[in-house]
């Protein structure tokens, strides 16, 4: 498996703030990555570093084997759609779609036209008269139709309704299947995209907390539900990620279980259910959050 991005000990400081703090990871070619984390966790800064828009304080970044900073050979293979991406005010959406092919060698106009129809985007209206959702759909269309070998979507759907978001997910998957490429998607809406993601990077307070295959991550924890005494006996000294209870009932999230442990749980009359990616990430990041809030 070849890697598209290799990041080593990357840090970015703004004054005393460590927006990105000693992060290392690799991104494999032709996979969909989720870059998840809370507001201000450092997701946008990380993506700006990867696309050469921001300059690293220390550490190295390699895209397609080279540094991205001011490197046209690398950057012309990237497309970075930002949350609240700004467009020239006097532009109309059709001006955006007219100019995009000048910069993206793989641009597919037919695909763009289909997406414009899907999102019902008025192409003749001036940018400043568009709604937030319509603005977001421009970015989504450019990001998809550009077919850049490395595409970054940073919270691309501010203001998009549920139907439009579903269209985005569907088109992304369809087009990705036909034209494999590396996609890095940053979002808060973890559950909506969890089926899309093949690999998950979770960043908090500038640090990389989780860097794991999505499937492995999903199996990393299980909800155990049942009578309080039975649950307590079953979990024993196991690592508990989360604990809930009403009356005599108890629901506990524990780290991944083996097949035999699952059988034990069933025979003890306990119910097992998968933990959603969102729940899991909330639980895995919560401890860090508490420490942060205590120190703040």
């Amino acid at each position: 498996m070849t890697s598209t991005i290799e990041v080593t000990n990357l840090s970015k400081n703004f004054g005393k703030v460590n927006a990105v703090n000693d992060v290392s990871f690799t991104v494999e070619e032709n996979k969909i990555y989720g870059l998840l984390g809370r507001n201000g966790a450092g997701k946008t800064t990380l993506m700006q570093l990867l696309t050469g828009q921001e300059f690293a304080s220390s550490g190295t970044i390699s895209l397609f084997g080279q540094t991205p900073v001011e490197n046209a050979k690398v950057l012309q293979n990237t497309c970075f759609i930002k949350e609240s991406q700004r467009y020239p005010e006097d532009f109309r959406p059709k001006d955006v779609f007219k100019t995009a092919p000048w910069f993206f060698a793989n641009w597919d106009q037919d695909f763009a036209d289909r997406l414009i129809a899907d999102f019902r985007l008025p192409v003749d209206r001036r940018i400043k008269k568009l709604s937030r959702g319509q603005l977001s759909s421009i970015g989504v269309i450019v990001g998809l139709a550009s077919r850049a070998p490395l595409t970054f979507f940073d919270e691309p759907y501010l203001g998009l309704d549920a139907v439009a978001r579903q269209i985005f997910y569907d088109r992304l998957l369809e087009d990705y299947a036909a034209h494999p490429r590396t996609v890095i998607l940053s979002t808060h809406l973890i559950d909506e995209v969890s089926n899309l993601l093949e690999h998950v990077l979770v960043i908090d307070e500038g640090k990389l907390l989780i860097n794991e295959d999505a499937e492995t991550l999903r199996n990393r924890a299980t909800n155990v539900v049942g009578m309080k005494t039975a649950v307590e006996t079953f979990i024993g000294n196991r690592e508990v990620l989360h604990r809930d209870g009403i009356g005599g009932l108890s629901s506990v999230t524990v780290a991944g279980l083996s097949e035999s442990e699952r059988r034990d749980a069933h025979s003890a009359g306990l119910e097992l259910s998968p933990v959603s990616l969102q729940q899991l990430i909330i639980q895995l990041t919560r401890t860090e959050t508490k420490e942060f809030e205590a120190s703040a």
């Binding site: 890697s3 001011e70 046209a72 950057l75 012309q76 497309c79 759609i81 991406q85 020239p88 000048w102």
Partner: protein, 256 residues
């Protein structure tokens, strides 16, 4: 190091990358090409009306003398300042946009510079045509001057040179201001103007204390319109280099 080339786009030539950025500034020509001519047209009609009123009110015997003063008209000056604004707007708006398209800062600046040179040529050509019409119609039939004031020199060749150089100066000075804006926002621009004002005041003080105003005046007269215009190219070049240097380290931010 493992790399992949299979899905990579065939590298575009530097020329194509730079011209693509230049074209970006003309993708919607309203701000760069539409609005300035419309405003210029409105000013032209307004000036013509005023001159016509004066023309009609003055005794025919005194007309030549009264309207001779219009050769010092400044009505077409606005276009130069407006070009500076165009440069500032163009860069501050398209810079974050182009970088999202995977354009390097270097290609972005060179492409924008190319667009500015094209703009300077277009506007010089336009103003030359209009001022030629003004001369041919003998000052729009009234002996007035709107587009060929004395500041731009005598004769078409001289005027073309002076106007082209003036457009270049204002566009590139604008690009330097825009680079300061993109990099440090309002604080930076405020500081920039404080520094420029301090430099100007410093130069004035220098001339005053060394009692050399007459020498400055004599030098300017010696240089003539052409000489001053030619020397402005130095400032234009400084602005261009400053704009490029500042933009090379700038980061696009969402906050306006």
């Amino acid at each position: 190091m493992t790399t992949t080339t299979t899905a990579l786009a065939h590298p575009a030539s530097p020329i194509k990358r730079i011209t693509s950025v230049a074209k970006l500034h003309f993708a919607n020509p309203w701000t760069t090409l539409g609005l300035p001519w419309i405003i210029l047209g409105v000013i032209f009609v307004g000036m013509l009306t005023i001159w016509w009123l004066i023309y009609s009110a003055i005794d025919p015997a005194d007309r030549a003398g009264a309207l001779e003063g219009t050769q010092f008209s400044g009505s077409s000056f606005f276009i130069y300042i407006y070009m500076m604004v165009v440069a500032i707007q163009a860069i501050s708006i398209t810079f974050p946009f182009a970088l999202g398209y995977g354009v390097t800062r270097r290609d972005y600046y060179l492409g924008s510079a190319l667009a500015f040179v094209v703009l300077a040529v277009i506007y010089t050509a336009g103003l030359t045509l209009i001022s030629a019409a003004e001369t041919m119609t003998d000052g729009w039939g009234m002996g007035v001057t709107i587009f060929a004031p004395v500041y731009f020199g005598a004769g078409i060749a001289e005027r073309i040179f002076v106007q082209l150089v003036a457009f270049l100066f204002f566009l590139f000075f604008g690009s330097a201001i825009a680079a300061v804006w993109v990099r440090w926002k309002a604080t930076g621009v405020t500081m920039f103007f404080i520094v420029v004002a301090a430099l100007l005041v410093g130069l004035i003080a220098l001339a005053t204390f060394t009692d050399s105003w007459s020498a400055v005046g004599a030098t300017l007269v010696d240089l003539g319109v052409l000489g001053v215009a030619a020397w402005s190219l130095v400032l234009t070049a400084i602005s261009a280099v400053a704009g490029f240097t500042l933009l090379r380290r700038a980061t696009p931010r969402n906050a306006a």
